[in-house]
């Protein structure tokens, strides 16, 4: 894992004191709310439905047990004993006081964490593949590139007042586990014909009210020009992105209106200019960072036998563990989606248990998934039973990775001031319904994603089944979408037709799964069947 040196530590410490001063000036009335708002947002502090909310970055989703313990301690000391893991590898606390915020940032800085640029019109937390460094299929570990970009984007003097927020994801395998092409910039580390590594840049993706899949604008940027190329992409956006309408201000609209070709031409011109400006760190810096991401000392003769005699354990193994690059190891997913629970929420006690288990069984490392679950990336197969036993006793053993119960849901109207409808109760009812009917098992991989408003924090555009909550004359109403994917087979979901009320949407989800069960060919996932047979059979079943 990356460790701060004295420079990194000095920067987060300075940021804490800067925010302490800003919060003090706000409380003294020397800053208006309009002036303070962008400053607090750039430190992750929102004014939400019930209180201030603090969003803490977990860069590229990686943290150790000491950091997870610190997150638990913050939940107990400053909040109400829990936190919410988000779709961009952050954690949010819902009940924060402005007068405590700087102290929380100081507590985070002690464990090399921060809330820098987790909101605001700036470059946000860089996200990555949650199986990085463990996945059997990756070209390289993408996290050193993400860390390089984290440092470049932190306190960037030119790009802190962008037209709109800016999200970057970095992956390094053909499988996309980070919704890479639905980011403002998605970077895929690839190798060229002669085996040299480089970066493919995808620019202008995103969800929100105008979902778009990012086109590839450069399939191979040499690694010693990575930062310069990103700087060129951002400068064109900062200068020419729309600022007249906040709903058209994301880079996807610029790329769409200019056309990918013209945007690329402008980026390449800016890039050619910037190459002479010395903005690129030397490759030695990338090598220095890579040194922190070397493999842990895997046992070469780790026992690969798993005793499957307990059927509950065997089911969890089949559903929640993923192939690892080292023999005798797997990555184990801790589901934060208990049936009827709140997707992504974890209590302080659960965080502490996950931290301790990571220390005991996963080389002291945890990951946050964009699907709001936690990964222990490097678990010996021989330790799985002990791990599962401990998780199950704490309500963390749900065997439902990538099933219909593994729902992404935004906080919705229960917590969010932007929401039009509640998301969480819908997620709870759906998981309860499918657990009750026993259909979770037979439906296989089915990604269901719920947003409580058009901003799409719950990724409804990318759900095999998506649900969008809207406000219909003051009453919550839910639209159903089908056919989205955030993975390497990326696609945007389409709305089925008129919306449903809260109970109606649960029935509607069940109805479309029934169509799938009737129509599916061998080995087809819900998404495959939808793509083959199209929308009509689903529409007929829903609306007659």
């Amino acid at each position: 894992m990356y460790k701060y040196d004295q420079y990194d530590q000095a920067m987060v410490d300075a940021r804490v004191e800067e925010f302490r001063d800003q919060a003090r000036r706000r409380l003294e009335g020397r800053l208006t709310e309009d002036q303070f708002k962008p400053l607090r947002l750039m430190n992750g502090l929102y004014l939400q439905l019930h209180a201030y909310m603090l969003r803490v970055a977990i860069p590229y989703g990686t943290l150790d047990s000491r950091q997870m313990h610190a997150l638990a301690d913050i939940a107990d000391k400053y909040d109400r004993g829990y936190g919410h893991f988000t779709t961009r590898q952050n954690i949010q606390y819902n009940w924060i006081k402005l007068e405590d915020a700087a102290d929380i940032l100081a507590d985070l800085a002690k464990v090399e964490m921060h809330a820098i640029q987790t909101s605001g019109n700036c470059i946000r937390n860089i996200s990555s593949d949650h199986f990085a460094g463990a996945a059997a299929d990756e070209v390289v570990d993408p996290r050193p590139y993400a860390e390089l970009l984290r440092q470049w984007s932190s306190f960037h003097p030119e790009f802190s007042y962008l037209p709109r927020k800016f999200k970057i994801a970095v992956i390094a395998s053909e499988k996309d586990r980070a919704a890479m092409r639905l980011h403002d910039i998605g970077i895929n580390i690839v190798t060229n014909d002669v085996g040299e590594p480089g970066a493919a840049f995808y620019v202008g993706g995103g969800m929100g009210r105008t979902p778009m899949i990012a086109p590839c604008i450069n399939s191979f940027v040499p690694l010693d020009q990575l930062v310069t190329y990103a700087e060129a992409c951002l400068r064109v956006y900062n200068r020419h992105g729309r600022r007249d309408n906040k709903y058209k201000a994301r880079i996807k609209i610029l790329v769409h209106e200019l056309g990918a070709e013209e945007y690329t031409r402008q980026v390449e011109a800016e890039f050619a200019h910037l190459l002479d400006q010395g903005v690129e760190p030397p490759l030695a810096e990338l090598e220095r960072i890579k040194g922190y991401f070397e493999d842990p000392l895997f046992e070469t003769a780790a026992d690969s036998q798993i005793d499957r005699i307990d059927p509950d354990f065997a089911l969890w193994i089949d559903r929640n563990t993923v192939a690892h690059k080292a023999d005798g190891y797997v990555s184990a997913v801790i589901s934060l989606k208990p049936v009827g629970g709140i997707p992504g929420d974890a209590t302080a006690e659960q965080m502490r248990l996950m931290a301790d288990l990571a220390k005991d069984y996963s080389f002291d490392e945890l990951r946050v998934m964009h699907t709001q679950n936690i990964v222990l990336p490097h678990v010996r197969k021989a330790d799985l039973h002990a791990l599962w036993t401990a998780l199950d006793a704490a309500g963390l053993g749900s065997p439902n990775l990538d099933t219909v119960e593994d729902i992404i849901a935004c906080p919705g109207l229960d917590y969010c001031s932007l929401a039009n409808a509640r998301s969480i109760p819908v997620a709870q009812k759906i998981s309860e319904r499918f657990a009750q009917t026993g259909k979770t098992a037979t439906l296989g991989e089915l990604k269901l994603k719920i947003s409580g408003c058009i901003n799409a924090c719950g990724h409804h555009h990318a759900g095999h089944i998506g649900i969008l909550g809207v406000d219909r004359k003051g009453v919550e109403n839910y639209q159903l979408l089908l056919g989205g994917s955030e993975a390497e087979d990326v696609s945007l979901a389409k709305i089925t037709g008129p919306g449903f009320d809260e109970n109606g949407i649960v029935d509607a989800v069940e109805t479309v799964t029934t169509v799938y069960e009737r129509e599916r060919a061998d080995g087809e996932r819900f998404l495959d069947t939808y793509r083959r047979i199209g929308m009509n059979p689903f529409k007929e079943a829903l609306y007659g």
Binding site: Y7, A14, P38, N121, F155, P157, R239, P282, E285
Partner: protein, 141 residues
């Protein structure tokens, strides 16, 4: 008129800045004002006769002026680069890094706040338009 903070030793230009369009139409002005939508690169052929470029910030959240400033400095402009308008004290450090060396804010700054703003960052992560050495350069001397 608001006070101007200046971090240069030369004499300030004594005549008002003109718009980019007027500047390009006439040849005797040495001070120009860039609005957020103006293309700073249009000035590049004429840098040798410019002594003052004002970059206007009608709203503090519109960050186009940061790019304008860097583009001018990257092209070798050495005259005064002044941020004017809705400029907030919390923005000074980044503006300075983008090449601004004078500030004319709509609302007067508290000079203690200005001092802390400029002393805030012990290090910088990026190479920009100022003379500060980036962290990566210090790591790899």
């Amino acid at each position: 008129m608001a006070d101007t903070l200046r971090y240069r030793d030369d004499e300030p230009v004594d005549h008002p800045a003109v718009t980019v369009d007027s500047f390009l139409d006439q040849s005797n002005a040495s001070a120009v004002r860039i609005e957020p939508g103006d293309d700073a690169r249009e000035l590049l052929p004429h840098l040798d006769r410019l002594a003052l470029v004002e970059v206007n910030f009608p709203a503090f959240g519109d960050g186009r002026g940061y790019s304008s400033a860097r583009i001018l400095r990257e092209a070798g402009y050495e005259g005064e680069l002044r941020a004017v308008g809705d400029v907030l004290v919390d923005q000074l450090a980044y503006m300075r890094r983008c090449g601004f060396d004078a500030f004319e804010p709509d609302q007067r700054f508290d000079m203690e706040d200005v001092k802390s703003a400029f002393e805030r960052w012990p290090e910088v992560y990026q190479k920009a338009a100022d003379t500060r050495t980036s962290i990566w350069a210090k790591r790899h001397p």
